[in-house]
């Protein structure tokens, strides 16, 4: 099998049994791999009556056909599961070099079911795969465990995916940490594994991935590499990574200041956390994921102040936005927070959203020192932030509430706290203002895993007009790429969801494979020459659409409808208080964009449910039948 490794592993933790199977080629042609195969397998193995913390929940860890190949940025990992936080569809994606190693070991994916009677970790050493005792790893931070495992198993080249101590203790939004500094961050995939008593996976491989037509594949990869490096966004992104976006947010009024009460940071405070300060005083050098020419990560070292001596990798935009959410503008604290979240295995975003909610509740007097274990949750108070974070990391005291996520914390607090819980479908949002960026608002509303911008990632503003004309001829590209134009955005978001589903299923990095960085038409020839299976761009997009429909069907089966495709009340009803887009909110435009979106998707506008016509056109008749029998299919 070219491109693919050809084998998969089924791990049954109830019986501590591991079975090797052949990777099914009929499925891979329709779902590609990665997130796509994950969605298909989750749909067919986790029926609606199964709860997330039940042993019947299934964790799918999947590489794509291009993972580990010379295709640029081929190191991404996808994990799919029923989320312990939301109880709906979830998948999470990470950078690093775990999936290449999985492919070199000879496997395309792992399916993990059941619950072990003792704490275990999975050790994949090529042909030899076993579950090993993990008792001695419990409670230790992921950096320590990564080193312990590599020593214990006797090879510095081992790659690890670890569940941190916070998830082991019981928080619901535990992430899966890849080689210390990358994570499958969102939706609590780490917690799902912790609930199965599985503390991580270590892998080492020595085989190669065979390529169907090596010289043609090489040409395609070189072409894509050249177009990435010459794209307009490359110079700044390769130096600043996502961190550079914070400057843009401040300029365009998209900051989540104090739990999104305001959209800009007071200017005199902003320079502490701007990219200038970061590059001059914190960044030491660039670091990259597997086979990536963008190297958007940076090694930082803190020279002075409260966190002097701290070192680590890649403070993301997210980390600085979490600080902003709590009214904090200290760059040292941001870097430290990132490190701590990686060490304890905590999703930075959900933790940030939950803490911001708590800070606002405290500010409004809905909770007092009595509830917060004596910690004054005042805006901008770094001491308090650190203390309450520790409560979450150890799942103790107030941390036992906060560790359950923003939605449950709001419910626990009550007294109207739900009105400022920044979540969609039960998961915290990605820390950005959306009232002045309608299509991003739509992306958040429709994302299958809730609270998320990455499912769609609709980078249209300022994009390549020529390319947009090529791809979407029917509407003027100037209109499509304008921030405030509503027309056509529904169709755009649907298209981007399909496109990015395909990227996530191939094992590639969607931040590097943005439309405009590469021409999407170049993808299919590369995939075809790698695998020997014939794809054109239409077929590839159709795979993406099929994957999105399976995710939608999974949620529809659980009872989600149009009413769940929405955004927090704060964005729907409260106008932005200050900044370049003062006065705007999404309430007036979201319904119209949703209508357009459902129409583009071929789903029912009134209910938001999938239709038989659309599902059958994608070869999903079985799913249409099942949804119909449950009353969850749109009535035609």
């Amino acid at each position: 099998m070219a491109g693919y490794a050809g084998k998969m592993l089924k791990v049954n933790l109830d019986r501590e049994e591991i079975v090797k199977e052949v990777t099914p080629t009929d499925l891979t042609e329709k779902y590609l791999g990665g997130a796509g195969l994950g969605a298909y397998l989750l749909y067919h193995h986790v029926p609606p009556e199964v709860k997330a913390d039940s042993p019947e929940n299934c964790v799918i860890v999947a590489a794509g056909p291009l993972s580990g190949t010379i295709m640029p940025c081929s190191g991404r990992l996808s994990v799919t599961v029923l989320s312990p936080v939301t109880g709906i569809f979830a998948d999470s994606n990470s950078g690093g070099d775990f999936t290449p190693e999985l492919k070199f070991a000879g496997y395309d994916l792992l399916m993990i079911t059941g619950k072990a009677k003792r704490p275990v970790y999975l050790w994949i050493d090529g042909e030899k795969v076993e579950l090993r005792d993990a008792k001695h790893l419990m409670g230790k931070d992921t950096w320590e465990v990564d080193e312990l495992l590599r020593k214990e198993l006797g090879d510095w080249r081992i790659k690890t995916a670890l569940v941190g101590p916070a998830a082991q203790k019981g928080i619901l939004y535990g992430c899966l940490v890849i080689n210390k500094y990358r994570t499958c961050g969102k939706t609590g995939v780490g917690s799902a594994l912790a609930q199965k008593n599985m503390l991580g996976i270590a892998v080492r491989g020595r085989k190669g991935i065979s390529i169907h037509d090596p010289s043609s594949f090489e040409k395609q990869c070189d072409k894509i590499l050249a177009s990435m490096k010459s794209s307009a966004g490359y110079p700044s992104y390769s130096v600043l990574g996502t961190y550079g976006v914070s400057d843009v947010y401040q300029e365009t009024g998209r900051m989540p200041w104090k739990n999104h009460q305001e959209a800009i940071v007071p200017q005199e405070l902003f320079k502490n956390i701007g990219s200038d300060n970061f590059v001059k005083n914190f960044k030491v050098r660039d670091v990259a994921c597997f086979n990536c020419p963008v190297h958007c990560s940076h090694w930082f070292e803190i020279k002075e102040g409260r966190y002097a001596g701290e070192k680590g990798e890649k403070p993301e935009l997210v980390a600085s936005m979490v600080a902003v959410l709590a009214g904090i503008t200290d760059l040292g604290m941001i870097c430290h927070y990132q490190n701590e979240c990686n060490r304890y295995g905590i999703d930075m975003m959900e933790c940030g959203n939950t803490l911001a909610l708590a800070f606002e509740a405290y500010d409004r007097g809905l909770i007092t020192l009595k509830e917060t274990d004596g910690i004054p949750l005042e805006w901008g108070n770094i001491d308090s932030f650190e203390k309450v974070f520790e409560k979450i990391a150890n799942f103790e005291g107030f941390g036992k509430v906060l560790g359950l996520g923003v939605k449950r914390t709001a419910e626990w607090i009550g007294k109207g706290a739900e009105r400022f819980a920044i979540e969609v479908k039960g998961y915290g949002m990605s820390l950005v203002e959306i009232r002045n960026a309608p299509h991003w608002g739509l992306a958040f509303a429709t994302a299958s895993r809730g609270g998320d911008h990455l499912k769609a990632l609709p980078f249209v503003v300022g994009n390549d007009l020529e390319m947009f004309r090529d791809l979407f001829g029917d509407q003027p590209p100037e209109e499509l790429t304008s921030l405030l134009e509503i027309n056509g955005k529904g169709k755009m978001v649907a298209w981007f969801e399909n496109y990015n589903a395909a990227i996530d299923s191939l094992g590639l990095c969607k931040l590097a494979y943005k439309v405009g960085w590469i021409h999407p038409m170049d993808l299919a020839p590369a995939l075809s020459s790698a695998t020997g299976i014939s794809y054109d761009f239409k077929k590839l997009l159709e795979c993406g659409e099929r994957i999105c429909n399976v995710e939608k069907a999974f949620n529809a089966r659980l009872g989600l409808t149009r009413k769940d495709d929405t955004v927090p009340v704060r964005f729907l009803e409260e106008p932005i208080a200050a900044g370049p887009r003062k006065g705007e909110h999404l309430g007036s435009v979201l319904p119209r964009m949703l209508d357009d979106y459902y129409e583009a998707r071929g789903w029912d506008k009134e209910t938001g449910l999938p239709t038989r016509a659309k599902l059958e056109s994608l070869g999903l008749k079985e799913i249409a039948d099942e949804l119909e029998s449950m009353g969850r299919l749109a009535k035609s």
């Binding site: 010379i70 070199f104 190669g208 090596p214 086979n291």
Partner: protein, 159 residues
């Protein structure tokens, strides 16, 4: 004889391992860093990555120890090349080399860097220029400027 050598600037290496991948792909048409003639070791507590490769010694331990004289100098590139047909796979060279310049593949074949006939692929695909193919005399002196810049920084700021 070729006067260029492979050199690395560790401050520029991002640990991406494209060099490993492309080396293996060029020589074996498959994606397998285990078949690469160079290896990248990461020190992830310090954010440093170090590529290791054959240093093409003038007086080479591997050449001296080889019982079949399979390792010979290519006069055009200056590279020590391993003749597969003469190699008996005793692996003595891999034990003698202090620099991990030779590797053993999964079929016990021994391989080493041959500088790709004078146009090293690893250098071609090193995005940051951490890996260079430069005149031997320049190999060390490349570091002078960035090093001096560090000392000069307090003075440069005043301009």
């Amino acid at each position: 004889m070729g006067s260029k050598v492979l050199a690395v600037d560790m401050n520029l290496c991002t640990g991406c391992r494209s060099c490993e991948l492309r080396c293996a792909f060029k020589h074996h048409q498959e994606c397998n860093p285990s078949h690469s003639r160079l290896r990248v070791v990461k020190f992830d507590r310090s954010g440093i990555a170090v590529p290791l490769f054959c240093l093409q010694c003038e007086e080479a331990f591997c050449q001296e120890i080889c019982p079949t004289k399979a390792i010979q100098r290519d006069t055009k590139t200056g590279a020590l090349t391993l003749n597969e047909n003469k190699c008996v796979r005793c692996r003595a060279c891999t034990m003698a080399c202090p620099f991990l310049g030779l590797q053993i593949l999964s079929d016990r074949k021994v391989v080493k860097c041959d500088l790709c006939e004078g146009e090293p692929y690893c250098v071609k695909y090193c995005e940051t220029g951490a890996l260079k193919f430069i005149e031997a005399e320049d190999a060390g002196i490349q570091r002078a400027y960035p090093l001096a810049e560090k000392f000069a920084r307090p003075y440069l700021k005043r301009e």
